[in-house]
Symmetry: C3
Amino acid sequence: MAEFSQFGGGGRLRHLLTLDGLEPDLIRELLDRAGAWLSRPGELPRRGHELQGWTVANLFAEPSTRTRASFELAALRLGADAVNLDMMLSSRAKGESVLDTIYTLQAMQVDVFVIRDAEPGVPEYVARHVEPQVSVISGGEAHLSHPTQGLLDALTILQYKGGFRDLAVTIVGDVRHSRVARSASTALAALGVGELRLVAPAELMPDADEFPGALRFESFDAGIAHADVVMMLRIQRERIAATPQPDLARYHELYGLTAARLHRARPEAIVMHPGPMNRGVEISTDVADGPQSVIRRQVTNGVAIRMAVLAHIAATRRGCAL
Amino acid sequence: MAEFSQFGGGGRLRHLLTLDGLEPDLIRELLDRAGAWLSRPGELPRRGHELQGWTVANLFAEPSTRTRASFELAALRLGADAVNLDMMLSSRAKGESVLDTIYTLQAMQVDVFVIRDAEPGVPEYVARHVEPQVSVISGGEAHLSHPTQGLLDALTILQYKGGFRDLAVTIVGDVRHSRVARSASTALAALGVGELRLVAPAELMPDADEFPGALRFESFDAGIAHADVVMMLRIQRERIAATPQPDLARYHELYGLTAARLHRARPEAIVMHPGPMNRGVEISTDVADGPQSVIRRQVTNGVAIRMAVLAHIAATRRGCAL
Amino acid sequence: MAEFSQFGGGGRLRHLLTLDGLEPDLIRELLDRAGAWLSRPGELPRRGHELQGWTVANLFAEPSTRTRASFELAALRLGADAVNLDMMLSSRAKGESVLDTIYTLQAMQVDVFVIRDAEPGVPEYVARHVEPQVSVISGGEAHLSHPTQGLLDALTILQYKGGFRDLAVTIVGDVRHSRVARSASTALAALGVGELRLVAPAELMPDADEFPGALRFESFDAGIAHADVVMMLRIQRERIAATPQPDLARYHELYGLTAARLHRARPEAIVMHPGPMNRGVEISTDVADGPQSVIRRQVTNGVAIRMAVLAHIAATRRGCAL
């Protein structure tokens, strides 16, 4: 199969399926642009016309309030029409193939597909087949990739820490099955993060050839020591059952972020979580709502990142137009 | 727990969770403003820019075509972006708490949450926790409160009767479990209704300390005599099973509004129903579609009331802005 | 019951429930107007203001991504507000009658109802009851009628063949249960198609009094010979089970369109399918994606036809306004 590239002309993104291969300058540009879409607290959100006349279709095969709503609002605030399709409930239920659904929507002049699917490879498969003027953005692909989440995590760290070079970032939980961890680590590596640490029980630790350069810890206490950023992952209850700590209370004791444990990080460390949180499991409520938590800022940054990505893709297309 | 107030600055509404405590002047202002959003029959609906740039999220945990669509259209016709979230199908299904869903959407800069939930206290619980610039409107709270319904009922009565002072209003059916009856009676009491009557079988009559001043009747024929307004409530089939008249035909005979029974009211009495109707149970089809029925006007007024409430809240916020 | 007419003033459409009775000139006008809504490949879709201030409600009782999305985009691109209601999941679930749902939405000032329902007669039943300024468009009615599909099929043939007079059009598959076949044949007959052929196993052939003038073939090879247009229909798997060829492979052998069989048609014949396709059953993948396939063009034309119908209905209403 031919090499696939998510880039259009001039090294600019036509699609966004993964952060792999993105130049640091491009990532920094996207973070910078996203920052410009943020408004001050209490103000109405910034709006633009970059997607006026465009149609964005959100195709989410998993239920997901937050990411779908985030993309929908990003599209609407840039002037696009947005249509939501639950692929499991619609034509796929009649046996239509994914690609025929895409071809159909493309023929209705959908310009951007935002796709979340539990099956690996779906976004690239779609992106390989759409027409030249159509773009695909991954809204989360299996355990592999969640590029806008990686960007919003990087933006959040940048806002609070001013840079990446001197930071120790600790990612905690089910790293093995986490697209959030993969995309965050790719972004952070590209941006030159000082030290990336993974904390997980052995069963949930990724294979050795993944996360190059990351330090690995089974002990949360060891992995969090003097960290600048503590990024907690959502744990699936069924994953816990597969570990030697098969109950929630025991998991919380070993891998839950509590105030006591957070004291081992740097005093000004920030706490992140991609949501939705299992309060009392991977994170205690006092930490989730505490002064070091930047979890809600991540969500706000998520809309801004998605606006930046959509506007970037629109600019790429205009640059390519004859 | 600290006292909660739904008011913002200057005695104006920041939230709308209940009609309890609303000054008559404020209710009259809302009815007046709603009237200004009505167009003439056959004309396109009035539109405004009061919510331009705002985002309204409709969170409905119960299926409800009419109220959700009414709020959605009210928001769109004022220029807002509207997103619909079925809370039962989305992140709550993953175990996310109500509050985390709210915080997440708030962080995406949702300005107004319209919330319908079967559990008492959810709207206030949310309103206590949102940021100062965010508003909550109840779209129906358990059996307790349905404030926009109460306002639209008052508006409808005002349109047809010109006032409240000399009226006898009869509310009929499952008053005990009805948020519609509670909000209507609060509005009518504030507006100085002449006489409020409740008609219900004993099992469906509210406790004695509720509906102060209302006259109570087990006999529909007695309660409807010379009434100016007959407000029928929707009956749940499972409620009928709990009464001594456990079948639909018998319930209809005792508590259904028929043309014959309507003759006992004043000749110019109006017939109301919040919908959806059980035709042939609490109301006969000839009455529902007859010349005294104002049921469709209630629906039209519902959109106008929701526009008035949204615009009022937007004005409150602008008044508070620095 | 009184005669029903879908026409408003001046022989123009107020509703669109069926293509029966449409004058050829009116059909040609709609095709012509639809053509004007098409943009060049890669360009953004054309937009208009014809429905500015209007509200279009899509009521689909069957799951159907493509047609619902097509109507939604047509409405949005003409400036309307669009609300989607899954009637099976909303107030009907509470026992509300279809008509009360319609009356409620009408009272919210919905201007156009797009209705798809498996039950025959629902669109006309609704159209008989709505107020004079409200229109109903069928989005597919049982096995009977799918008028916008018939128009988009005619438009597609016109684009590729320049006319209808000298054409042989072959419709293949479950003609008996197909609203697509019925509406296409009505449109083609009105436009003076040269020859209409139906190909189906006996069990799936319509009754003799339907499709007047059409030639009928049990043999696909006979029916496709020298055809200019081959219109494949979607087969329901449960229908196959009712034929003497009760498995998919056997059905494909007898009634599937393969490259070999397509060779029997004229060399420049076009291949159509209303979607969603059962690839490998009624159509082979190489034909579906081959150079003679115009299936995606049909989808694009579908949005344009729906915009033309909506704009036509809006013009009818403006013409009638006092």
